[in-house]
């Protein structure tokens, strides 16, 4: 009776494996040739394992059931049979070679990043991604846009909870895009399941990968290498467009970059800076310094009522622009543009009771950066 029960348990285990075709259960087939091939490899090797498993467990349960001591089975005394043993070493070897050949083919195909039409630099930063289109003057940072209230449960979950960003990476379809990946602090890993691209971003080193998307659409992924507190909160959204649509977007985005640059010269109002500063603080700085600026000492210093910050305006600006080496404070010069830098510094100097009353103009920041 007991071995019958064992049979039910392991067969239910196998039945649930076999019914994995529903999309939410299995690896996505993806929208690139490479991801389709990987999906094919995954399913073939999975089925090979299921077949071997069925044969092996079948033999095992047959012996368990057939030769039960309670049924008075007498045990034979053979314990040596090298031809059988050679048989069950060479068969697995052949199966392995059979798997290795297609796997090698797919892998060699994946390792060819030459003559790309578009080069995009992907920079992993502590807890967001920055994209720079090489050769075009377009570069922006992509932060998670799921409000913290949803995470703490005050609000209901949005449709793409934890998988939505304020500005997605826009890519053309049917063009080979070459990714150059690096990181500013720790090791992150840029992963979009539908594109089957997963590559670690190593600080100080450059990694290369490529993708050629076949269908337009929005593809979501997230960081896949432990990188600190907000490892779960740095999603990736790729918006794949038709080629014409992409070129139009590029022109319009370049225009927007110029506007931002223009905005630097004019005189900004205090409450304009404070408003813009608060949004930048919430989406970037709150992760460590907390939304009320109380920080989490000793790792993350408090900003509210920080004496040095209030007295030494120059040190405050230098720290935000150039960061502090060997700590989690990055050089925001690599992440934010002069307008955002000026507004977030003004906000931290006047929020939560700091009220120093002074504000920092984007023009001043731009002068420092261009010096």
């Amino acid at each position: 009776m007991r071995s019958l029960w064992r049979w039910i348990v392991s067969s239910s285990v196998f039945l649930s494996i076999t019914s994995v075709h529903a999309n939410g259960w299995n690896m996505p087939r993806g929208v690139t040739d490479v991801s389709g091939e990987i999906y094919g490899l995954h399913m073939t090797i999975f089925w090979i394992c299921v077949v071997i498993g069925a044969v092996v467990f079948g033999a095992m349960f047959y012996s368990l059931f057939r030769y039960r001591h309670s049924k008075g089975a007498k045990s034979a005394n053979f314990h040596e049979h090298t031809t059988v043993e050679i048989f069950w070493t060479t068969i697995p070897l052949l199966i392995l070679v059979g798997m290795a050949v297609p796997a090698t083919a797919t892998l060699t195909k994946m390792y060819d990043a030459s003559e790309a039409d578009l080069d995009v630099m992907i920079i992993g930063q502590q807890w967001r991604w920055r994209y720079e289109y090489l050769g075009e003057e377009v570069a922006f940072t992509s932060n998670m846009s799921t409000p913290r209230a949803q995470i703490s449960g005050e609000e209901g979950f949005g449709e793409h909870y934890l998988r939505e960003v304020d500005e997605p990476l826009v890519l053309p379809i049917n063009r080979k895009v070459r990714f150059l990946m690096t990181s500013d602090d720790v090791i992150h890993s840029w992963w979009v399941p539908e594109l089957a691209v997963k590559q670690d971003t190593i600080p100080g080193f450059i990694n290369e990968n490529w993708v050629n998307i076949n269908e337009p659409g929005i593809y979501r992924g997230q960081c896949a290498e432990l990188c600190g507190i907000d490892h779960a909160f740095m999603p990736i959204v790729v918006h794949a467009m038709e080629e014409a649509e992409f070129d139009a977007w590029m022109v319009e985005r370049k225009e927007a970059m110029k506007q931002e640059a223009l905005g630097v010269d004019r005189e900004w109002e205090m409450q304009e800076l404070m408003a813009r500063g608060e949004t930048v603080f919430e989406s970037i700085c709150a992760a460590c310094h907390q939304s009320e600026g109380q920080g989490a000492p000793p790792a993350f210093p408090a900003l509210a009522g920080n004496a040095r910050l209030i007295e030494d305006r120059e040190w405050h600006i230098q720290t935000v622009i150039n960061g502090v080496s060997g700590t989690a404070m990055p050089a925001f010069r690599n992440t934010l543009n002069p307008v955002e830098l000026a507004s977030v510094v003004t906000y931290t100097r006047n929020a939560w009771g700091n009220d120093t009353g002074d504000s920092v103009q984007p023009a001043d920041i731009a002068r420092r950066l261009a010096q």
């Binding site: 299995n26 394992c49 012996s63 309670s70 392995l96 060699t108 997963k198 600080p203």
Partner: protein, 544 residues
């Protein structure tokens, strides 16, 4: 996983051994706590190891339950991400270094002298010292949770630069604790090699040793080879953090990928250190309850040796997405796939031992059969992970978590529990309560599958590892896993109950507690007296 030696343990008289020589005269042994602090007896030290491992198993289990409680639903309900990262790191460290390895060392200390007919381990005092290093190391490690800046939060694989430049101040304590634990493992390994190679009973040649002894000999060689590499890596980390060198920071000309190469060169043999003794245990238990000699004994020893050798050549399959060149990816894919061959040989040998045997299903056998079935499922997912193009989609997702939990929980942990149920009659003189053991077995099997099987699907669907919160499409799988985790966690209390009851009383067990058991340890009376094989037994090879 095993008994507190009962106070009624027959201390006064030491059993007169076969040769009838009178007990060695020495002053009365110290009583109470001092007895356990100063013991050099391999049986007492074995029990100390097993009790320590049981306590650490529950501490690591509590960390796991905190993780699963947070992951029960999307959203952050219980802990903040910082503490969650500490929980995942400490769960990994405690389970690997404090629960599984000491449990196998405890079984080795208890059973190797008995199985090879030696009076004690080769270096008894070193044996005591290598045990008492463990509580020191892991009290230190657990104390880092209460230090300012929190405990280690960079995963049990502590990748640089997260573990060097961006680590909490308690990291230096973490390094010290790992050093001490490493030294304890190294001393244990030296002790075991010296015992096996030099103190076998006359007439017992290397190939007559039970397979548990063989697997432990090969594991000890692995320990000797890789623990120093771990010591080297954490020393380099220490110098990077405190003495301004830059082994692993690109700023000073170092390279974070170097850390991963060094760590996994230690890491992969380490996971084989945790599974080879389990192979040994299952290879001892299955023939006993199938009432049939183990099929292909020499092949099992050769397969264990080839797995140990191959384990040094596969380390970079943990790094397929770090940016290795094509030739390296291919090399490590091929070498990783090759490991499936000797592992396959072992599984086929177990199953052929069952064929035309006469099988009964006591609790040790149930655990061993569950080991064979569920470990093989873990082996299959391992084979899928070996395919490096597919690993680009699996790497660092819950599919990997499912893989290594399938080979570790129903693998190493079930084998430890099978060993405890199998040798409890020898240790305590009583059979464990069979009904309670059955309950523990079935709840554990259901708990393990309910916890780790849905992880295959959440991983394939795209859920990364080590995240305190996840998108909505993974909610159902995680709820199932969390339920299974609590079921599995609480069903281990039955195990503790079974062990304590067995120590206190239960059906008396004769010297040879199991009908099909023929190894040397069953020639010693049950409960095994403190001093056995004072004069080495004459070993007659069982007629083939």
């Amino acid at each position: 996983m095993a008994p507190k030696l009962p106070p009624t343990y027959p201390l006064e008289h030491s059993a007169t051994t076969a040769a009838g020589s009178q007990a060695p005269t020495h002053h009365a042994p110290p009583r109470g706590l001092l007895r356990w602090l100063l013991t050099t007896n391999h049986k007492e030290i074995g029990s100390l190891y097993l009790i320590f491992s049981l306590i650490m198993f529950f501490i690591g289990g509590i960390f796991a339950l905190v993780i699963r409680a947070e992951l029960f639903q999307p959203g952050l309900q219980l802990v903040n991400p910082e503490f969650f990262n500490q929980m995942t790191t400490m769960h990994g460290l405690i389970m690997v270094f404090a629960a599984v390895m000491p449990a196998f060392t405890g079984l080795a200390n208890w059973m190797i002298p008995l199985q090879i007919g030696a009076p004690d381990m080769a270096l008894p005092r070193l044996n005591n010292f290598s045990f008492w290093l463990l509580p020191v190391a892991f009290t230190l490690l657990l104390s880092t949770l209460f230090m300012p800046g929190g405990g280690p939060n960079f995963g049990w694989t502590f990748y640089a630069p997260l573990s060097t430049t961006y680590a909490p101040p308690s990291t230096t304590f973490f390094i010290l604790a790992l050093h001490i634990a490493g030294i304890s493992s190294i001393l244990g390994a030296i002790n075991i090699i010296a015992t096996i190679l030099n103190m076998r009973a006359p007439g017992m040649r290397m190939m007559d040793m039970p397979l548990f002894v063989w697997t432990w000999l090969i594991t000890a060689f692995l320990l000797i080879a890789v623990m120093p590499v771990l010591a080297g890596v954490i020393t380099m980390m220490l110098m990077d953090i405190n003495f301004g060198t830059s082994f692993f920071s690109a700023a000073g000309g170092g390279d974070p990928v170097l850390f991963q190469h060094l760590f996994w060169f230690f890491g992969h043999p380490e996971v084989y250190i945790m599974i080879l003794p389990a192979f040994g245990i299952v290879s001892v238990i299955i023939p006993t309850f199938a009432r049939k000699p183990l099929f292909g004994y020499p092949s099992m020893v050769y397969a264990t040796a080839s797995i140990a050798l191959l384990s040094f050549m596969v380390w970079a399959h943990h790094m397929f997405v770090v940016g290795l060149p094509l030739a390296a990816e291919l090399f490590f894919m091929y070498s990783t796939m090759l490991i499936a061959v000797p592992t396959g040989v072992k599984i086929f040998n177990w199953i052929t031992t069952l064929f035309r045997g006469s099988i009964s299903f006591e609790s040790p056998m149930l655990f061993s059969l569950a080991f064979v079935v569920l470990f093989t499922i873990g082996g299959f997912s391992g084979l899928m992970l070996a395919i490096s193009p597919a690993d680009f989609q699996y790497h660092d997702t819950y599919f990997v978590v499912a893989h290594f939990h399938y080979v570790l929980v129903p693998g190493a942990v079930f084998a430890i529990m099978a060993a405890v149920y199998y040798w409890l009659p020898k240790w305590t003189g009583h059979y464990p309560n069979e009904r309670l053991a059955q309950w523990h077995f079935w709840l554990s099997v259901i708990g393990v599958n309910l916890t780790f099987f849905p992880m295959h699907f959440s991983g394939l669907a795209g859920m990364p590892r080590r995240i305190p919160d996840y998108a909505l499409q993974f909610a159902d799988f995680n709820m199932l896993s969390s339920l299974g985790a609590f079921l599995f966690g609480f069903s281990q209390l039955l195990f503790v109950l079974g062990v304590v009851l067995c120590v206190r009383g239960g059906k008396k067990a004769p010297a040879q507690a199991w009908e099909g058991a023929w190894d040397l340890e069953w020639t010693v009376p049950s409960p095994a007296p403190l001093h056995t094989f004072e004069t080495p037994p004459v070993f007659k090879r069982p007629t083939p």
